[in-house]
């Protein structure tokens, strides 16, 4: 059976965009980790991401900021409102895993 040449491209676009639409309505259209893990809300060690700050991690994990800094072995005067991924610029040996491990131990 002959089919119009328009069927394939039109259907492909409709299926693609329609899936995005359905996923948006159902809440499954998530394009960023920050939509899934909101800083400051119930943060576990596995939720700690590079874009988070020490303040946000402490708040989300329900632990004191000073306690977190001490447990992670970080300097007391470390910037607490800078994304963790940017802390390497001031602390070359810093690894995000240190914060994750600290949250794990304190939780």
């Amino acid at each position: 059976m002959k089919v119009s040449v328009w069927v394939a491209p039109v259907a492909s676009v409709i299926i693609l965009l329609g899936s995005v639409g359905v996923a948006t309505v159902t809440g499954d259209w998530v394009t960023s980790g920050r939509q899934q893990v909101v800083q400051g809300q119930e943060t576990s060690s596995g939720d700690v991401k590079g874009w988070m700050t020490l303040e946000g991690v402490a708040q989300g994990a329900g632990i004191g900021l000073d306690e977190l800094i001490k447990e992670a072995g970080l300097p007391a005067d470390i910037a607490t409102r800078v994304p963790l991924k940017d802390l390497k610029e001031t602390l070359p040996d810093f690894e995000i895993s240190e914060v994750r491990d600290a949250v794990e131990r304190l939780s």
């Binding site: 002959k2 040449v5 492909s12 693609l16 899936s19 259209w29 394009t31």
Partner: protein, 294 residues
Amino acid sequence: MQRVKRARHLTQFVFGGFIIVAGVRHQLSPDGGTASVDALCPFGAVETLATWIMTGAMISKIHPSNLVLGLALLVGTLLVGNAFCGWICPFGAIQDALSWVRRTLHIPSVTLPHAVDAALRWGRFVVLAVILYFSYATARLWFADYDPYVTLFGLHWLFEGPSDALWIALGILGVVVAGSVVIDRFWCRYLCPLGGVLSVVGRFSLIRIRRSTASCTDCTLCDKPCPVGIEPSKAKPFVSADCIGCMDCVATCPVPHALTLSAPVFLGIPRPGAEPAPTATRAHRESVHAGKES
């Protein structure tokens, strides 16, 4: 049929523009949770598939959006064939644009020997295997460091300072761009891992382009506009599953019903009695050939 070509280019322009806007937005507000170009690529679903099946988690930088797009692409390809590559993929659109630049500047194209071309097409599966292995082994979006789509549309080259990783990525992109200038859809033909996946899935499409052996005059005019060089004139009766669904061959064919979209197709097997009635008379064939030779 020129409407089909114009509609395709317009569709490519719209999706390409959308991806560029998404890339710019993500670069300008990296903390705002806007979508990265990684999150808008259906291939991410393939990259995370093994990890997702084994552990239930996705590799880093892959999000549910990738799974949605991957599933939509799978369903769409099974139902109506692969039109994603020809109509939607922004990187495919860039290659089409480079081909147009070549033609406009009268730069000679490169035609590889058939055997070499056929062998090189397996490169897509080599790339796919490497990506799948390292994605699973590292549990991260390993290919993002080398993916020319991410390199180009992620705009790291524009917003970030130089780094060794960026230079490597730009080198790969440069090779692909240079190849795409002299060979139509160079990346799609020989290297695209998603294209490799879709060429397998496309074999099971319910709708495929079919050549009517009764109507076809063997003028081979349909071969010239094919961006991926799969020679629709030799389809027996369905064109290769490497078809990107651009419809340029159907739009170019001078004989009514010689090349058509045919349905339903089950596992590449023509439906009995579905061969369209011959439309080309002997006189018509001779006139088509005469036109081709002049």
